[in-house]
Symmetry: C2
C-alpha cells in the first residue's frame, strides 16, 4: 500500500509540500476548512478595494485537478489520534495517516484582550478582508448620511493598530482612498478631512527593517496624509473608538495589525511544547520531538535557524514545505536524512500607498516607485496561473491609468442589518 | 431653488432616469440600500461560478462621480410622507422631494409559501448569487466527504423550480459544471452522475418563446444532461428535498426561479392599487393616480402598453426611466406632456449552457452557438464601462479556451458553521 500523507492546511507550506511530493508515489489527502488557497501577501489590497476577492484566491480542488494522487477534502479538523494515527474530522470521520503534516497558519491575536476583536478586526482570511472593506466603505457612507458633527468626525477617523508591513500597507492605501479617490464622489462630506492614524507601541514603524527605511516609510506615509504615532500603546478598544495611553479618540473604524497567534494545531496534538504565540516547538528537521511521523510547518510552528526563530512569512513557509517533502522522500527511498532545515532569508518588502515601497535584502536597500514596481512584479510572479497574473496586472494597470480602485462592493448580508 | 427629484432604487429604471435628467438643472438624490448597481441579466453566471461578483456590479457612487447634481445615499427607505412630500429613511432622516421616483425592483416570491425560502433560495441580489454558489459547491464537497450512499445521492440531486429564462440558464450551467468541469477534480464521487432537474408546473419551458424554441431548448438541455419535467407542480419543499405531485425526491440543493413579488413600494405609499404580484398600478404616464409628482417604474410598477402588461425585463425598465425623465423635463420647461408610455419589445433571449442560446425578435428566430455569441456581445455592450467589458470578455474567453470556470470561491461566513 502507498505511504499515506495527510496534509492539514492548503497555505504556502502545505501546497509547496504537496507540489514537491509529486511523483513520490504517496497517497496524499489535503484537508482545509476553506475551499481556496489564499495569497495572503496581497490580502490588504482586497481589504482596501484595490483587488477583488477572486483575484487572489484559487479553489484548492482545481489546483489539484491534475494530481490523481491527491484527494482534497473541505472539512474541519477537530483533533489528532496519535495512537491510531488518524486525523479526526468534525463530522466524525477519521482519516488515517502514515505521515501527518500540520500547516494551518495563524490568526490575529489580541494579547489576552479577545473582546477587542469585534471592534478591531484583523486581516488573515478573505472574510476578514471583506469585513474590513465593508467597514471602511460604510464609514464614509454613514458620514455622508449623518447630521451630527461629532458622529461624522468619529466616522471619518480610522485607526490602524500595529505598524509592521500589514499596518503600513493598510494605512497608506486607506489614506489614498480618503484623500485622492473618494473626495469627488461625496457631496456632503469632505473625505479629504478624514483622519488616518497608524499606531505603534514600539519606537518605530517597520521594526524588521533598518532604521533609515523606517524613517523613509514614516515620511512617505505622512506625505499621503497618515498620522504616524510611535511609542503609543493602545490601552482600550470599544465600539466608540480607542484609548491611546490616557487619551480617548473617537474612531468608528479600528483595524488590528498588531499580533498573531498560531492556529489550534497545538491542542490537537495534546501536551506538546509551544511558544507564547501558540506555535508548536519542532525539531531541526521540522518534526515533533518523539514523533518523526508528524511535521508542523509555517506559521503554526516555532522553528529556529541559525539560532533565531524563523519569521512567519510566505517564503519561510514554502521553504519548510520543500524541506519536509524532501525528508519524506529520503525516508521512503531509505536514504540518509538531509541536513537540518536552514532558513534562507529573501529580504523584507513593504509598500506605502500605491506607488512607493521599501525593499531590503541584506545590505541592499531600495525605496520609492521603482521599489514598488519590483515588489509588484515579484508578487505577480508568485501568483498561481496565467489567468491570475493577467487579471491582477490588469487591475493594477487600470488603477495606475484611471486612478480609480475597482473593487468597492459592499456585499455581506450584515450590510443591510447594520445599515443606519 | 432647483427642482428636487428623489430617486429610490439604482437599478436599470432609476439609473436611466438619472442619466436622462443630465443637464436638466434638477437637484437629484439617488437612494439605494446597496452600494452597487447590479447587472441582473448576468446574475445567474455569478451563481454558477462563471463570473465573479465584481464583474457585474458597480458602486453607484462611482457611477455618479461626474454628476455634481446627484447626491448618492446608501440608506434604507421606510416610508413616504405624501403630505409633506418627504421620503422617510430608517435612521429617522427625511429627504424632501418635488418629484419622487420609486424604482425598487422585485424579489422572488413563493406564492404564499414563504417558509420555502430557507430551503429554496431565489436569485435577485448579489448575496442571493453567492448563497446559491456556496450551496452548489458545498453539495459536491459534502458528497465527497460522506460515506452514506443515500445522503450522497441527495447531495448530488439539484432541483431548479421554474423554467423561465433564469431557470433554464441555471440548469444548463449546473449540468455542465457537474458533467464536464468537476468530474476530474473529485476522487471519491462521480459528479457525472449528478441529477439536475428543471421543474416547470406549466406545459412547456420558456413559455414566453414560440413552442418550437421551447422544444429546441428542452432538447438542448437534455443533451447536456438536464432532466426537464413539465406539467409537474412542486407541492412541498423542505431541507430534505421536494415533493413533486405526490412523489418525494431527496435533493439537498433546491433553487427557486418560479415567481417574483414587487418590492415594498406599495406599502410606503399607503392605500394605492396594486396587482397580485404587489406591483403598483400606474397611469399611462407612469405616475400614480391623483399624484402626478410620484412615478413608479420597472418591476415595482404594473404598466400596460397596447393593452398588455409590460414584462419585468431590463429593456422595459430602461424605457420607463427614459420616459419619466422626458416627462419631468417637459413639465419643467412648461411644454406639452409626451404621449403615453409605449413599450417597445426588444425580443426574448435565453442561454442554454455555455454555447447555445435561443433568440426571438418578432418573427425572427435564432438558436445554437451563433445565438449564444450574439447574446454574449449584446450583454457586453450593455455592461457599464470599458473595464467591465474587458474583464467579462476575458472571463468568457478564458472559459471558452480553458474549459474552466474561474469564480468558484466559497466565501460567506456561514461556510464554516455549516461545514460538516
Amino acid at each position: 500500500m502507498a505511504h499515506r500523507v495527510v496534509v492539514v492546511g492548503a497555505g504556502f507550506a502545505g501546497l509547496q509540500l504537496v507540489q514537491n511530493l509529486k511523483g513520490s508515489g504517496c497517497d496524499i489527502t489535503l484537508i482545509d476548512q476553506r475551499n481556496h488557497h489564499l495569497f495572503q501577501p496581497l490580502l490588504y489590497q482586497v481589504a482596501t478595494t484595490l483587488l477583488a476577492t477572486s483575484e487572489i484566491a484559487w479553489p484548492i480542488r482545481r489546483l489539484m485537478r491534475p494530481r490523481k494522487d491527491v484527494t482534497t477534502l473541505l472539512a474541519t479538523v477537530d483533533g489528532v489520534d496519535r495512537e491510531t494515527r488518524e486525523v479526526l474530522l468534525r463530522d466524525g470521520t477519521r482519516v488515517p495517516y502514515d505521515t501527518l503534516v500540520l500547516a494551518t497558519g495563524a490568526r490575529h491575536a489580541y494579547f489576552g484582550r479577545d473582546e477587542w476583536e469585534a471592534d478591531a478586526p484583523g486581516l488573515k482570511t478573505l472574510e476578514d478582508a471583506t469585513t474590513i472593506r465593508r467597514r471602511l466603505l460604510l464609514a464614509f457612507e454613514r458620514a455622508e448620511l449623518t447630521t451630527d458633527p461629532a458622529e461624522r468626525e468619529a466616522l471619518l477617523t480610522f485607526a490602524i493598530i500595529g505598524a509592521g508591513p500589514t499596518g503600513v500597507e493598510l494605512a497608506g492605501i486607506i489614506a489614498e482612498l480618503a484623500h485622492r479617490i473618494l473626495p469627488r464622489e461625496f457631496r456632503r462630506i469632505d473625505t479629504d478631512r478624514a483622519r488616518i492614524m497608524l499606531i505603534e507601541a514600539g519606537p518605530r514603524i517597520l521594526p524588521a527593517f533598518s532604521p533609515n527605511l523606517s524613517d523613509y516609510a514614516a515620511q512617505s506615509l505622512q506625505k499621503v496624509g497618515v498620522e504616524v504615532l510611535t511609542g503609543k500603546p493602545v490601552t482600550q478598544i470599544s465600539d466608540k473608538g480607542i484609548v491611546l495611553g490616557d487619551e480617548p479618540i473617537a474612531a468608528r473604524t479600528v483595524i488590528w495589525a498588531a499580533g498573531v497567534q498560531a492556529s489550534r494545531a497545538k491542542d490537537w496534538l495534546g501536551g506538546v511544547e509551544a511558544d507564547r504565540a501558540g506555535r508548536v516547538m519542532v525539531q531541526p528537521d521540522l518534526t515533533l520531538a518523539g514523533a518523526p511521523d508528524i511535521f508542523v510547518l509555517g506559521d503554526t510552528a516555532h522553528v529556529e535557524s541559525d539560532g533565531k526563530p524563523v519569521p512567519g512569512v510566505a517564503p519561510a513557509a514554502k521553504q519548510q514545505g520543500e524541506y519536509a517533502a524532501k525528508l519524506i522522500r529520503t525516508r521512503l527511498e531509505g536514504k540518509d536524512a538531509p541536513a537540518p532545515f536552514k532558513y534562507k532569508h529573501m529580504g523584507n518588502l513593504a509598500t506605502i500607498g500605491r506607488n512607493s515601497a521599501v525593499i531590503e535584502f541584506g545590505k541592499f536597500q531600495m525605496r520609492g516607485w521603482l521599489a514598488w514596481w519590483i515588489w509588484g512584479f515579484a508578487h505577480i510572479y508568485f501568483l498561481i496561473g496565467t489567468r491570475s497574473r493577467i487579471v491582477v496586472l490588469l487591475s493594477w494597470l487600470w488603477i495606475f491609468i484611471s486612478g480609480q480602485n475597482s473593487a468597492r462592493l459592499i456585499t455581506q448580508k450584515e450590510t443591510l442589518k447594520d445599515d443606519v
